[in-house]
């Protein structure tokens, strides 16, 4: 049977579906930023930005950009009524102190038990940069990853053991991909859903690891 991958927007919408009313959420740089576009206006979700914003709003209209009001990716944003600014030590206390409900991050690799690798390829020519990834990964009550399941070369980014340098150990609870949503548990991967037409066996084959269903 054939199946179709979730588009980037469909994947963002799938993540957004699981973010409950009232949650405080940090969306990582890159693809996770798209999730904000899919949270319905009727659902009040507080967005946190590591550089010191709680209650972050969408991008400003063209011409109204203020580069003193940017997100973690340094793109201009807005502040919602009720939003607040604070310094970096407070911002990271919000993460490390377990005050954030959810963070959504990109990844190079995630292990079946939830180890995360998303900051450095470890290649000799690469200049390492970590930013807030390690604080977010271990700090939020739930860390979710959003990524394509396979690399461009067709290798699974869900692995038994990460080969890239780790960001955090056992910290990822859930992985949202273009083909399936999975939970990482101490006992390994659990399939939560798959795109239409993709069987559990076929998904397990793509990943190369055993899967259980919830």
């Amino acid at each position: 049977m054939s199946y179709t991958r979730r588009s980037k927007d469909e994947l963002a919408a799938r993540v957004a579906r699981d973010i409950p009313e009232g949650a405080t959420v940090n969306l990582g740089i890159g693809q996770p930023t798209l999730v904000a576009n899919h949270i319905p206006a009727t659902r009040e979700v507080l967005l946190h930005s590591e550089n010191g914003i709680l209650g972050m709003g969408p991008a400003p209209a063209k011409g109204l950009e203020d580069y003193d009001l940017i997100n973690a990716g340094k793109q201009p944003v807005t502040l919602l009524s009720g939003g607040a600014f604070f310094h970096h030590a407070d911002s990271f206390a919000m993460m490390r102190g377990g005050h954030l409900d959810i963070c959504v991050l990109g990844a190079f690799q995630v292990s079946a038990t939830g180890d995360l690798a998303n900051w450095h390829t470890g290649e000799p020519e690469a200049i390492p940069a970590v930013g807030g990834a390690m604080d977010l990964a271990i700090g939020a009550k739930q860390t979710w990853v959003m990524m394509d399941l396979l690399t461009k070369q067709g290798q699974s980014k869900l692995v038994q053991t990460c080969s890239y340098p780790l960001t955090g150990i056992g910290c990822v609870k859930r992985v949202y991909t273009d083909l399936a949503t999975l939970a990482c548990t101490p006992q390994g991967l659990v399939a939560i859903d798959m795109v239409e037409g993709l069987s559990l066996e076929a998904l397990s084959g793509l990943i190369g690891l055993p899967l259980r269903t919830a």
Binding site: Y67, K74, H87, V130, G131
Partner: protein, 236 residues
Amino acid sequence: MINKFVSSVAEAVADTPDGATVMIGGFGTAGIPDELIEGLIAQGASDLTVVNNNAGNAEHGLAALLKAGRVRKIICSFPRQADSYVFDGLYRSGQVELELVPQGNLAERIRAAGAGIGGFFTPTGYGTELAKHADGSPKETREIGGRMYVYETPIHADLALIKAERGDRWGNLTYRKAARNFGPIMAMAARKTVATVHEQVALGALDPETVVTPGIFVQAVVRVDRVATQAGGIKP
């Protein structure tokens, strides 16, 4: 009479010695005190250790200080950006040393210095390459309440250069939006803190309930004209 206002950037940074550790506020281009960095370049101090979240954008500010060859070492969390080519070149050719620190550890190490704390145990970075010293040996770890933590030390500075919005002659400061970022904690962690403000106000004009940095953490304030913060760290 206490008056922390100085008449020029040059006067504010005049006594910076070679080999100093200099904290520079800012995240991306927000909160980067460009005027003070330009003053430091003109002043001429070299062999500096710079603490900043990033490693400079394009060829102004911190990137210009790097390009002028004044920086021996940079302590930061996110050096690689779309426009960090000055740092990238110096790093690849071995002309600048990098201490990469997870961002929250960077903030807390700065805060700890300002608060007189001798270090702290943090879960951030445990089990990763960044829980190692520069020589590759592991940092001290400890299990506390069933969780593993890494010991991190404070970062003190000789000088902090920060950008604020409004200030009075006692050195009380407020900031603007997300340009606050590292300003308040860097002000606490340095032996001498110099802040720029866009508005010089009389004592009592700042609402005491909303002063962000109390003047005790600030040694010099310079008023500079407002220049709109430019985009940085992103692809144009």
